[in-house]
């Protein structure tokens, strides 16, 4: 193993370019260090430690966007009172990541590039139309998060690029909800995750983003269309055909495809299709559900 310890963004990008993409960037380590002693093969590679790059940490509010740095943690966002007022789903989702010990270390950028279909941070970022800002020695590139994933753990980040920022447009929202269904409240990985927003502002509309029900976290265009058309929906079951068009859940260690589709239908029906009438002014931005209460 070798570890590269850059002190600046510039130095990190140069080291990454020189490693021909072989170096694995590491930020909070909450994914990469899991079961570390047993993962001998992971010890034999090169790591690029981002933790010493202070310029990647701060959260910045501009007139039209919230910009998270490449090292901004969940805890940084939870403790930013302005996030709770303006983009509350970021804080709601961050508080459902692991526990405080994980929230103080895990980063939003790491959540994006880890590429897990069950990520908690990615759905809310996508429901807020976040843009991934990538940088290499060759320059900057911006990719909308909804177009960032190409397949399971496949994404539009070249090995010589770092996620240096995540830009989230500031818009007024009339509906915002994040629901994570896990086996229990803390420390659980999602069986189903849903982030839903509606903005009447230009470029807005409905965003329905689903986690743990496809090889990547993704938007659900059929469900979004039903919401845009204000379609009358009378039961969770009526949503199943649209769900089947939008997602492809599987049976795995955490849940089954069948359960995931039904849970998604029920959350969408009760929290979104029924909840949209009370959406404006609602302060209940999200809640947790568990299998066993």
């Amino acid at each position: 193993m070798s570890v590269l310890l850059p002190g600046s963004r510039r130095e990190a990008l140069e080291l990454l370019a020189r490693s021909n993409g072989a170096a694995m960037p590491i930020a909070g380590g909450t994914d990469l260090l899991v079961h570390w002693p047993q993962r001998q093969e992971e010890h034999d590679r090169a790591y690029l430690d981002l933790s010493g790059i202070a310029e990647l940490r701060p959260v910045e509010w501009t007139p039209d966007a919230l910009v998270l740095g490449g090292l901004t943690t969940y805890w940084d966002v939870i403790r930013d009172a302005r996030v709770g007022r303006e983009l509350p789903l970021l804080a709601v989702a961050a508080r459902q990541v692991g526990s405080i010990q994980i929230q103080t270390r895990g980063t939003w950028a790491g959540n994006i590039v880890n590429g897990s279909p069950a990520a908690d941070g990615v759905p809310v970022l996508m429901a807020y139309d976040a843009v991934v800002v990538l940088e290499s020695v060759a320059g900057r590139e911006e990719v909308p998060l909804e177009r960032f994933y190409e397949g399971y753990k496949q994404m539009r980040r070249r090995p010589d690029q770092l996620v240096v920022a995540i830009r989230i447009p500031r818009r007024p929202y009339t509906f915002q909800r994040f629901v994570k269904i896990g086996s229990r409240r803390a420390q659980a990985i999602a069986k189903v995750g849903l982030a839903v927003t509606h903005s009447a502002a230009g470029g807005g509309g409905w965003r329905v983003v689903a986690a743990s029900v496809a090889p990547t976290i993704r938007r659900c265009p059929s469900i979004e269309r039903l919401l845009e058309e204000q379609a009358a929906v009378h039961s969770p079951e009526e949503l199943l055909p649209a769900i089947a068009r939008d997602v492809t859940p599987i049976d795995d260690i955490r849940s089954t495809a069948e359960y995931r589709k039904l849970a998604m239908a029920r959350v969408l029906f009760y929290d979104v299709f029924r909840g949209r009438e009370q959406g404006a002014g609602s302060t209940d931005h999200g809640r947790r559900m568990t299998d066993n209460g």
């Binding site: 193993m1 570890v3 909450t30 010890h43 508080r95 405080i100 010990q101």
Partner: protein
């Protein structure tokens, strides 16, 4: 928990890796260690520095038995590569004031004791940062410390009793 025998199968100790000199502030004292770069903070604390309060329960950031404060925030030391503590402050359970844990003992916050060092690190962090209780409950903040004995009521009661 890892025992002595398991240490021989821990790659961090078995495989030669490039040594790294890491300087940080440990419980207020400037400390420098020369360690393999694949070592975790938890390994360094336990097996090089003899601070065995932090425990390895799950090695995946779930149980919280390895909780330390890193730059003043609770973190799982099993998920911290040692090279990331350079220049930082690390506080472990060994440096805590024993008097501070008295309310926890009085409330029955410990039974078998395996989780207790981690529980205490999170509990005393909450007590030193009462502002977080404006937005969080004690139970939410303690969710990263698993305890299979107490049923948690003793832990929560102890923290509530000690709140300023």
């Amino acid at each position: 928990m890892r025992n002595e025998r398991d240490m021989t199968t821990n790659s961090a100790f078995r495989t030669p890796h490039s040594a790294l000199e890491v300087s940080f502030t440990l419980n207020g004292t400037p400390t420098t260690v020369s360690v393999p770069d694949s070592e975790r903070l938890l390994d360094t604390l336990r097996y090089r520095l003899g601070l065995t309060g932090a425990k390895e329960g799950c090695a995946e950031g779930e149980c919280g038995a390895c909780t330390v404060w890193l730059d003043g925030l609770p973190a799982n030391s099993c998920l911290v590569p040692i090279y990331q503590v350079r220049g930082r402050r690390v506080n472990t359970v060994e440096a805590l004031d024993p008097a501070a844990v008295a309310p926890l003992l009085d409330a029955g916050a410990t039974q078998c004791g395996a989780c207790t060092p981690g529980v205490v690190m999170t509990a005393l962090w909450i007590l030193q940062h009462p502002d977080v209780l404006a937005t969080h409950t004690v139970r939410e903040l303690m969710a990263g410390n698993l305890c299979r004995c107490t049923g948690y009521d003793g832990i929560v009661d102890g923290i509530e009793a000690a709140r300023p």
